[in-house]
Symmetry: C2
Subunit: 432 residues, 2 copies
């Protein structure tokens, strides 16, 4: 693993030298065509795509409840209890994210408040094949459940060998309302615009390939979408009290996701840097996904040795990693030094995969530096707010001069007159 000993400014530049996924005009065009076709032809288009792209002829797009129940019943006890534990902890943590709105009636004649309303229908995309993670189904569906969403509709590509039973079981555990066999851009189009079988939703969440991501961007505005996730990232802040074997294992846990994953260690100890680099090489050898992890480590992984702890935090805040491990002595004391990170893991035993599965916080997190302005997926993503006001005549009259002054300064005469309409004739004839 590459080790750098550079200044903070140089190190920030080096860390930036990775490329973003560029958009592909050909993909854009194909996705636009698919969306237009689904919009026009509905279920018929979805069935044609299932045959053409997935090699599956479908009579019904919707998965039967019997098939879902059978998948759940067939789940191993180990996996069932693991998913139930994950569910319990997700609910206990993410319920703390629930917003309640507010009301203020402290001024005579004035009531002002905020009303929180769950979205009505949400769509969840679940990729096919080996990229179908049951944990991700829980992470996407449960906050919507907690928020009070009426219906959570899952879409997933048809598979020649049939849908993954673990995926179906996880959907049942997560409380998904209905599952449809439809994948790719066509699934996103169906969720955004509706078809005969699939009612349109208000928001689409869940990971997917470039076609799914492009389709989500194209329907954005018609419906809401979650962030478009980039490759996984882990940033570790460690001093010489940290265990190099643990650190190497944690770096590799993210590197195994994707050749473009980013594993980054920032430390003030050259000795630790050398030990971790060696350990990464050693542990790589026996990994089933060695090829992927090795490519990620070699192309995009790095270790930065910095002169001080403040410089370590300055660099890491600039990187704004999806996952941040703080493996320093007394890690909790640094909470206020962390400005940008999706999810923060404090201390030796908060190994990143703990957060992927059972700790409770969401594992759908901002990537690619977007933690500078984005939050983890949460209950707040499945509600929206409305403000409300009620004023008495006296309260409105008190603000009348200010409203009309501003309206007329902005050249909006009808705005001024609308408020004045409530007092028409008042000065001319108080008794009218």
């Amino acid at each position: 693993m590459k080790i750098y000993e550079k200044s903070l400014a140089e190190m920030k530049q080096i860390a930036k030298s990775y490329t973003k996924q560029a958009s592909d005009p050909q993909v854009e065009k194909r996705v636009a065509d698919i969306i237009a076709n689904v919009k026009e032809r509905g279920d018929a288009a979805l069935k044609e795509y299932a045959k053409a792209f997935d090699g599956v002829a479908l009579d019904n797009l919707r998965v039967s409840q019997a098939q879902i129940d059978a998948a759940y019943d067939g789940l191993s006890d180990d996996l069932k209890s693991a998913l139930e534990l994950a569910k319990k902890n997700i609910i206990s943590y993410q319920s703390m994210e629930v917003q309640n709105g507010f009301i203020d009636s402290s001024k005579s004649g004035i009531i002002r408040g905020q009303k929180v309303t769950p979205l009505q229908r949400v769509g969840l995309y679940v990729p096919g094949g080996t990229a179908a993670y049951p944990s991700t189904i829980l992470m996407n569906a449960l906050p919507a459940k907690i928020a009070g969403v009426d219906e959570i509709v899952m879409v997933t590509p048809p598979q020649k060998e049939g849908l993954s039973p673990v995926v179906l079981a996880a959907a049942k555990i997560a409380g998904v309302s209905a599952i449809f066999q439809v994948g790719g851009a066509q699934a996103i189009a169906a969720l955004a615009f509706g078809t005969e079988s699939i009612e349109a939703v208000n928001k689409i969440v869940g990971p997917g390939n470039i076609y799914v991501a492009t389709a989500k961007k194209q329907v954005f505005g018609q419906v809401a979408i979650d962030m478009v996730a980039g490759p996984s990232e882990i940033g570790i802040l460690a001093d010489d009290t940290a265990d190099p074997v643990d650190l190497a294992a944690d770096l590799l846990s993210q590197a195994e996701h994707d050749r473009r994953a980013r594993a980054m260690l920032v430390t003030d100890s050259k000795d630790l840097a050398l030990a971790v680099s060696q350990e990464v090489g050693r542990q790589l050898e026996t990994l089933p996904r060695k090829a992927i992890a090795q490519a990620a480590i070699e192309d995009r992984g790095f270790i930065a040795v910095m002169p001080s702890i403040p410089d370590m935090f300055a660099l890491m805040n600039d990187l704004a990693p999806e996952h941040l491990e703080v493996q320093l002595e007394n890690p909790m004391q640094y909470l206020s030094d962390i400005r940008n990170a999706g999810s923060i893991f404090l201390g030796k035993y908060a190994s990143e995969p703990l957060g992927d599965y059972v700790a409770g916080p969401n594992h759908v997190l901002p990537t690619g530096g977007t933690a500078k302005f984005s939050s983890p997926l949460g209950v707040y993503d499945f509600v929206k707010t409305s403000s409300f006001v009620q004023f008495s005549k006296e309260a409105l009259q008190e603000d009348l001069a200010a409203i009309t002054a501003l309206a007329r300064a902005e050249g909006l005469e009808a705005h001024a007159r609308a408020v004045e309409s409530r007092f028409r004739g008042v000065t001319a004839n108080e008794n009218s």
Copy 2:
């Protein structure tokens, strides 16, 4: 004004029959070129565009503090106190939107929490000419201030006749950190990528023309953006207790914004419908912005007479208007019947322009039906959250089996090994 007496289903279809703003490939291309040029050539490009597009030769992009102070000092007392009243009420309302994060330490060995962090730098676009509304500067900058954003950078197109003093004064009242004379797509590019004079920001907010909106979409992902606002909308729910003169005035207050504005009245009273329609015609005659308001009313305004109050709400929730007035008897009792609306105005004296200026809730609101999934601009738009966890060895051990079961079910061996690394040698030799 057109009056319909249709079923709920028919009325939903009729209401949908307005076109969305389509994207223009030529604009897309020109904006992409401008962004690339600013990214490469920085301030030099900005100054060239100022000359070419705005006809202004600039030495300094940044507006001097002396110019801002002079504008503030020259503001009329009426406008100054109106803006100060607006500021006070915006702060008192939007401070209730502040989020505090949470921490849970109820389980032995486990600390889980959510940390709320303000964005560091925010950019605010303010259009030039007559579209520069001082109220909008307050509505965009103050929630960022309340959130604790370090720097709020305002950009606005250079004007041959000099920048509007009211705009500069409003920026000072709102606590804007710096003002730069740069407009259009080039301003958005400068905010997203930074130049010699303008440091890059984390989020860009504020209204703008098609070039600004297109540029915001193109830099989305590099930075966060607010929603792209469509034409103004007002939806009014009224029964025969409402005053047709007031209703007509309120409909026109939104119609005067834009030829594409939507003014919609939904009522159960045919008499009211006829009276409002007549009043709209009468009041239009004397409006300074008659041409605009008339076009909006004729092309896109309508009155729907529905058979019942539940149908009135069903239709209005489907319309999901930016502004919703409830001019029914005892309006507060209907709060739970409203599902989709940006801002809600309850009763005769909550005339919509009250909310545009001084009531306190934000006037930057979801349009075009996006209130089904979007919220008003608020303090929450200027912070982001990070989850954090700290586990003891014993707490991690308790979850070990579940984590490794899920990791291996998902084919992610390195995930399982990272957690197991913390317990290596434990079973083989407890004393090692």
